[in-house]
């Protein structure tokens, strides 16, 4: 079987995924933990999984992290 990595990643669904609403509800808390170098993914594993899997929520995470870094 050849390398189907991109397809594998797209189709992989993790039962820990909390979904958009829950991830966005704690995004500010999660981002502050990341910005402080703390283990945000360990504390919120389902949020971490979601931010990896959901493009729009991942964008919001990246945007908020950039905003916080910028002050």
């Amino acid at each position: 079987m050849s390398d189907l990595g991109a397809l594998e990643r797209f189709l992989r669904t993790d039962p820990r995924d909390v979904g958009c609403e829950e991830a966005m509800a704690v995004l500010h808390v999660y981002v502050d933990l990341v910005a402080a170098g703390e283990d945000a993914a360990g504390r919120y594993p389902g949020v971490a999984v979601h931010l990896q899997a959901c493009g729009p929520c991942g964008e919001d995470f990246a945007g908020l992290l950039a905003a916080v870094a910028d002050g």
């Binding site: 390398d3 594998e8 189709l11 992989r12 039962p15 958009c20 704690v26 500010h28 945007g63 905003a67």
Partner: protein
């Protein structure tokens, strides 16, 4: 639910100062609101520029989106000030509103210059979107045929519309949510379920082996 911390967290000095100034009344409160608005505008402008490659919105319209997002975020922050529980720094909490406003507004503005419309069904684009190269993947044709079969035979008409728009035609998820009047989560859930169905079918046909985390 992975809950955040409870109420009444001890506030850091900067957050406490923001709350005090925003409730001070008079000139001090006006100055604080002006400072906060200026920050929200700056962040909104930076955010729309950061996303400019992934949206058909450009130029002055992009700046308008940023200013509208900052204005709406400002109203939301002031309306919800009493709900701030100190789970994060105040500014992070406030900036979250403007980032989410930018997402939502770019989704709505997508339809002024759509790169694809609903129901276009550009299936020829799917190999690229799924990272399948017929030159490298001998099974690509079989996989693509099975994906299409699942979409056409096993999804409801609503699920099919959502999957085709987002995955096949590359319409941004927030744009589709705005068009259908649904929340982002509702669209994500449809795609999530479709991914599971497609994976199951591809495993059954022997194209994939891993369980893929599915429960």
């Amino acid at each position: 639910m992975e809950c955040a911390r409870g109420r009444a967290e001890a506030l850091d000095e900067e957050s406490a100062a923001w709350l005090r100034r925003l409730a001070a009344g008079g000139a001090e409160q006006q100055a604080a609101e002006s400072d906060l608005h200026a920050r929200l505008v700056r962040i909104a402008l930076a955010e729309v520029r950061r996303r400019s490659a992934s949206t058909p919105v450009t130029g002055p319209e992009l700046d308008d989106v940023a200013h509208q997002a900052a204005a709406d975020a400002m109203l939301a922050v002031l309306a919800k000030l009493a709900q701030f529980r100190g789970e994060s720094r105040f500014t992070t909490w406030a900036y979250r509103f403007v980032i989410l406003e930018v997402s939502s507004k770019l989704g709505r503005h997508y339809w002024r210059h759509p790169r694809a419309d609903l129901d276009e069904g550009q299936w020829e684009q799917l190999p690229g979107r799924l990272g399948l190269d017929p030159e490298r993947h001998a099974e690509a044709a079989g996989i693509l045929a099975e994906v299409r079969r699942v979409v056409e035979d096993e999804l409801t008409s609503h699920q099919r519309l959502v999957f085709t728009a987002v995955v096949v035609d590359g319409i941004p998820l927030d744009a589709l949510a705005a068009r259908l009047g649904l929340g982002r989560n509702a669209i994500y859930k449809v795609i999530f379920d479709a991914r599971r169905k497609i994976r199951r079918a591809l495993v059954a046909k022997g194209y994939l082996e891993e369980p893929g985390w599915e429960q």
